[in-house]
Point group: C2
Chain length 233, copies 2
DNA sequence: CTGCAAAGAGGCGGC
DNA sequence: GCCGCCTTTTTGCAG
C-alpha cells in the first residue's frame, strides 16, 4: 500500500461526474505491486467517515507528471489526481490481512430470537428464512391454533417499508397451499418503531409490533444459562 | 492527521461488538491537535472500500503503552488498538478542506427529466416531490386527458420495491379529492429494470417502464442548447 | 431536532 | 451472475 499526505485535487468520471477541489487529503493506493487489490481511497484530512473519492478493486494505476490516473476500464471508471504538494509519502508491502468478527449484527439478533420465540407469545418455530415469492421471512412460526405467524426482525427501527414488506409476506403465505385455510398474521420485532410505521400497523389487525432490544436478548440468554445450570445441579 | 502503517489488532465496542484480528492496517487519526474532527479510521492494507473499524467525529484519543484507545462517551463507543509493529508513521496539520461537486446523482437525474417530461409522452409537469400520505412522488404530470401520471425516477435499476412503492402512490393519488374521477397511471424511469420488477409491471396495465440513461439526458441537454442557439440566431 | 430517503453506496449470501 | 438484504451504514434534506 502507498500512503500519500498531500495537497491535491481530483476528478472522478464513471457512475457520476465528480470534482474534488484543491485540499489536504490522504491518498491510499492499494497497488498490486505492494500486495493490494487495486483499489484507491482519497480521504479528507479533517473530516468524514466515507472517502471523498475512491476507485474499486481492480483499477490500474498510472503515474503522470502532475499526479496519478487510476482507471477501471471494464466498469468505465476513471479517477485523475493532481498533486500540488506532497507532505509525506510511504509505502509498505502488506502480507497479513486481518479478520473481522462481529457480534450484535442483525443476523445474531435473529439467531437469538429464533431460540426464544416464546418471548413473543405461544409460538413454535417452523422455519428460518422461509422463502416466499416476494422474499424470505426471517422466522416462520405456528401459534396454538396452528396458524402461521411471520416474524420480521430488525436491529433498527421498523419503517413503513418493513410493514409493507410484511403485508406482501402475509399475502404470499395466504396463497401458499402449504398453509391452506390457515389465516396468517405478522409480528414485527425491533428495538423501536417509526411513527409512520406505527400508524400503518394500527390499520391492520393481523399485524403487531413487539419491542425487543439487543440488551434484552442478551439478558435473557444469561437467565436461560442460569436456569440450565440450576437444572444441571 | 496522523497516519500509521502498522501490524495491529483492534476491538470496537459500541453499536456492536467487533474484534479485528492481527493484520496489516493503515490507521488514520484525525486528532484535534492537527486540525481534525476527532474521527478515526482503520483500513485494511490489502482490500475493502469501507474501513474495517472506525470512530465517529468527536472521539477522544489516548496513547497507551501498546497502542491507542479512542472513546466517544456521549455515544457510548470505544475503539482499542494494539500495535505490534509500526512500519511507518506520519502526521500533518491540515489547513485546507476540499469541496466535492457531484453531477449525475439521482437528484440531478430527476432535475433534468423534469425539464423534459415530453420525452416520456404527451405530458405536462404539474409538481415535483408531490406529497402523498405514503411518500413523495418524484414528478407528477398530466396527460392529454388531464389524468394524473406519477413518475418515479431511479438512477439505478428498478427493483420490485420501487414498483410496489409506485402502486401505493397511485392508490394515494386515486384517493386524493384533487384528482377526483381521474384515473392515475405510473411511469418508472431508470437506466435498467430488474427481471422480477418487469414481471410485476406487466401485471398492471397502468404501469410502464421507460429506459433513460444519464448519458441520454446529457445528450438531450446538448441538443436543447443547440436548438436554443439556432433560435437565438 | 427528527424523520426519511439516497449513496459513485459496499459487501454478503442464496439461487 | 442476478437478486435480495444488511450495514457500527453515513449523509443530506426536508418538515
Amino acid at each position: 500500500m502507498i500512503v500519500i499526505l498531500a495537497r491535491a485535487s481530483a476528478r472522478y468520471q464513471g457512475r457520476i461526474d465528480a470534482e474534488l477541489s484543491l485540499g489536504d487529503v490522504c491518498i491510499l493506493i492499494r497497488d498490486i505491486e505492494s500486495g493490494g487489490d487495486g483499489s484507491v481511497l482519497i480521504h479528507d484530512m479533517q473530516m468524514g467517515i466515507p472517502p471523498r473519492n475512491w476507485m474499486p478493486a481492480g483499477s490500474s494505476m498510472q503515474v503522470t507528471e502532475g499526479g496519478y490516473v487510476f482507471e477501471h476500464e471494464k466498469r468505465g471508471e476513471k479517477l485523475e489526481v493532481w498533486v500540488e504538494t506532497i507532505y509525506a509519502s510511504q509505502s509498505h508491502y502488506s502480507q497479513l490481512t486481518s479478520k473481522l468478527a462481529k457480534l450484535g449484527a442483525e443476523r445474531e439478533f435473529s439467531d437469538r430470537l429464533a431460540l426464544q420465540v416464546q418471548l413473543l407469545g405461544d409460538l413454535v418455530l417452523v422455519a428460518r428464512e422461509w422463502r416466499t415469492p416476494c422474499g424470505p421471512v426471517d422466522l416462520l412460526c405456528q401459534d396454538v391454533n396452528e396458524c402461521p405467524v411471520a416474524i420480521e426482525v430488525k436491529r433498527r427501527a421498523i419503517d413503513p417499508n418493513a410493514v409493507w414488506q410484511m403485508r406482501r409476506y402475509l399475502h404470499a403465505i395466504g396463497e401458499d397451499p402449504a398453509w391452506k385455510d390457515q389465516v396468517p398474521r405478522g409480528i414485527l420485532v425491533a428495538p423501536s418503531l417509526q411513527k409512520a410505521a406505527q400508524r400503518l400497523i394500527e390499520q391492520f389487525d393481523d399485524l403487531e409490533f413487539i419491542r425487543v432490544t439487543f440488551d434484552q436478548l442478551k439478558e435473557l440468554e444469561v437467565q436461560m444459562n442460569d436456569q440450565q445450570e440450576l437444572k444441571d445441579d
